[in-house]
Structures are given as structure tokens and as C-alpha cells.
Amino acid sequence: QTPIVIKFSHVVANDTPKGKAAERFKELAEQSLKGRVKIELYPNSTLYKDKEELEALQLGAVQMLAPSLAKFGPLGVKEFEVFDLPYIFPGKDVLYRVTEGPIGKELLKKLEPKGITGLAYWDNGFKVMSANKPLKTPADFKGLKMRIQSSKVLDAEMRALGANPQVLAFSEVYQALQTGVVDGTENPPSNLYTQKMHEVQSNVTVSNHGYLGYAVIVNKKFWDGLPADIRTGLEVAMKDATKYANAIAQQENDKALEAVRKTGKTAVYVLNDKEKAEWRKALLPVQKDMESRIGKDLISAVGKEATALGYK
């Protein structure tokens, strides 16, 4: 019989952590379901761009996507903006407790009325700050034009630091940094490195102030219509692909940071505890300000997970 085709579209290159994880998922799923499914990968926005892929999924034009979590706010599920909050996850362990525990499941459920089924969370990693001057204390941000991706939370974050946030498309960032249209930006190290932004930034600060991640989602109608055993097979494959995705994200980030260091042209600075406390002091009010958008209960539930793991 002819295999069920699943079109999996994403906006990054094949050799990025997300691209590799998508390829791994394809391998695993096709192997275990022995010719009953065919996963077609469309990397690099070949079919749909960042701005249109969610609508394309809702229309059923593609079946599977892995958009960044920030995309779900505009879709009407503002709770997902919790992932953008500065210093919400004191460590990876807290993050995983959230994404793999009831909070994460609850969040994915909220996508269902939008015609979307969430399957998994994939890491991209914690973000570093970069600019053409050392960024050690919040005062160093004063008046800097900082590129962010479009998000109310990130806007508030940069303003809390005294910076002037500028929304720019990811593809424009390199040139904007080079010419000085913007002064700095925030990224997980792997994005900074693969986009060569370190070439045009003299200073990188490892602040781990924010998190960037993806959710793998499918069209709900398509998913519910699949034979139960295929669904199970895909879920198992997704579970393994997720492990791989998270491991590789960490690896790539470590490698990228090391590579940036090695160039000798960009200074990589790791915040010490005292400085980190200052950053937290400046940024924690953002969590409070965003309570009305994201939900007070959700934010405190994430806080409780951190406390449970011994963070204060």
C-alpha cells in the first residue's frame, strides 16, 4: 500500500540542531513503521516562511512543524510566552521538569482548540548577549539598540535593561550588526555562531538570561485520523528524536561558544555570581509585569518546580 506522507517543514538549515533532529525523527519513524509512513522534510523555509507556516499547518497544507515557542503567543495562546521570561528557568533541570511534566503537557493541550496537536519540546538553548562593548552589568545596556525577535516579553526584557529593543528579521541581523543599525542582540550560542554574528560583535556575555526552544506540532485533524498503531510508532520515534535534539542542542552550543572563543576576536565573558544577581534584580520585575498576559498561576507553578529542585 502507499505510505502516509507527512510533510515536515521548518525554517532552518539541515545542519542546525533542529534540522538534524528532524532528520533523525524521519529516520527513526520510517525505520520503525517500515514503509507505512514517509516523512518529507522541507528545510530552510522552502515551502513556507516563518510567518506563514502556522497557518499552513492549520489549513492542512503541511502536517508537521517545529516553530519556536514564541510563535504561539500571536496564535492566541499567550501562556507560551512564559518560556521567554527572563531567568524563569534557573537551570536545564527545571526546564525539563516543566516541558516533560504536567505543565508542559497542559500547555500543549491549549493548542488543540487551534487545530494543533503538540508532540514534543525541542531545545535550542539558553541565550547569550552580544554587543561591541563588554556587557557586565545592566548599566552597560543603557541606550543600546538591541535586536530581538518580535515578542512583547523580549521587548519588556530589553527595556528593563535600559536598552532600546529593535525587531528585525533573523536574516537581516548580520548586516544590521555589521553596519550598526543595531548594536547587539541575544541568541543561543549556536545561532550566533552559524549566522557568523561573532564576526561583527566584539563581546559575548554568557548570561543564560533567557531560553529559546521549539515545539514539534502536527495538524490535529490529520493526527487524530491516523491509525492508532502508527500514532504510537510516531510518538516513540518522537521521544527518541527529542532526546537526540536536546543532547545535540547542548553540544552545538558548547562547540559554538568554544569556536567563538578560539577566534580570539570576540571576548566571551561569563557572569560571576554578583553580576548575575544584578542582572536578575533588573530583569525579575519583567516576570511580574507580564503576569497579566501570561497568567500568574502559570508563572508561580514554574517557580514551584524550581523550588522543588532546590533553587531559591
Binding site: 497557518e55 492549520q58 500571536p74 496564535l75 518580535s150 532600546n164 529593543p165
Partner: protein, 187 residues
């Protein structure tokens, strides 16, 4: 009908002007807020202009959809007419009418697809990223603009059947240039 014509013209000219002013203001704002002037800088940074780009894009998309309809009425859409211009008049006319009706059909279909798309999007309460306008409102440009365009194609077809004349945009015409030529004679 005159009212619709004026509304159309007024809308696209206004969108053009406003988008220009908005980007101008946003750029000036970004520049000024980068200057380290005490107090003023703080005040400027507090003003948020991050919506400017998004608004400009949406204004231009709307301008493009309605401008395309206006373009049908004024004959601005370019086609490959070398071949049909070699034909005798009755045959050429047949092709012209075919082309116009094809335009009406295409834009009519797209308008309908757009309407159904808007309807589906409206079920999901999604909004734009910065301004948080409901996306179905933003996407209304597709059905509205396309239906208007379809209507314009039919209007032009009707006029062509009756009078044998097509609106023709002269791409080489620039207004106010006659005076320039006169002045240029002195060059």
C-alpha cells in the same frame, strides 16, 4: 460609482503617504534615542516604535491589493502583447476580451479562496505579532481587493465591448514634464 473610484484612489494614496511618514518617524526616533542625552534619551526609549515595521507592511499589502484594482481601471498591468498586436483587429479583440475575462475569473476565484481563508483564520483568534490585530482583519485585504479587482476587470471588459477602447497607462508619461522640457531647452 464615482464614489467608489474616489474612495479607492484616496485609500491607496493615503496608505502610501502614511507608511512613508511612519517609517520616517520610527527611524528618526531610533536615531535620536541612540544619542546619550540625559533625560531625553530615557524619555525616547520609553516611546515604543516597534510596531512601525509591522504596520508599514500591512499598509503596503493593503495598498498593493487595492492599488492592483485601481491599476486594472487605469491599464497599468503589463502584459506580453507583441504577438496579439500582429493580429488583425477582430482577432486581437477576441484575445483582449479573453485576457480581461481571465483576469476577472482569476481574481474572482482568489477572492473566494481568500474569503474562505479569512473565515477559517477567524475561527482561531490569532493576532499579529506586534500590534496584536486579529489576523482575519489583516487578511481581509485579499478577498476585498480581489473582488474589487474582479469587478474592475468586468467593468473594463464591458467598456471595451461597447467602445473598443482599453484604459492604457503610458509608462513614459510624467506629469509636469512639459514645463521641464521648456526649461530644459535652456540647458
Amino acid at each position: 460609482m464615482k464614489f467608489l473610484d474616489h474612495l479607492e484612489e484616496w485609500l491607496i494614496a493615503t496608505l502610501m503617504a502614511s507608511a512613508t511618514v511612519i517609517i520616517f518617524v520610527a527611524v528618526v526616533h531610533r536615531y535620536l534615542s541612540g544619542l546619550p542625552i540625559p533625560v531625553v534619551q530615557d524619555a525616547l526609549i520609553r516611546i515604543n516604535t516597534s510596531w512601525a515595521q509591522e504596520l508599514c507592511i500591512y499598509m503596503f499589502v493593503w495598498m498593493a491589493k487595492f492599488g492592483a484594482a485601481y491599476g486594472v481601471r487605469t491599464g497599468i498591468h503589463v502584459g506580453v502583447d507583441v504577438l496579439i498586436n500582429q493580429l488583425n483587429t477582430p482577432w486581437r479583440n477576441k484575445f483582449v476580451i479573453f485576457g480581461l475575462l481571465a483576469g476577472a475569473t482569476f481574481t474572482g476565484i482568489v477572492g473566494t479562496l481568500g474569503a474562505s481563508f479569512v473565515y477559517q483564520i477567524a475561527q482561531h483568534s490569532s493576532t499579529s505579532e506586534v500590534l496584536e490585530i486579529p489576523m482575519w482583519m489583516v487578511y481581509m485585504a485579499v478577498p476585498l481587493g480581489s473582488y474589487l479587482m474582479s469587478f474592475r476587470f468586468l467593468q473594463v471588459t464591458w467598456a471595451f465591448v461597447r467602445t473598443g477602447e482599453l484604459p492604457k497607462h503610458d509608462h513614459s508619461f510624467v506629469e509636469g514634464l512639459d514645463e521641464e522640457v521648456a526649461a530644459g531647452g535652456k540647458a
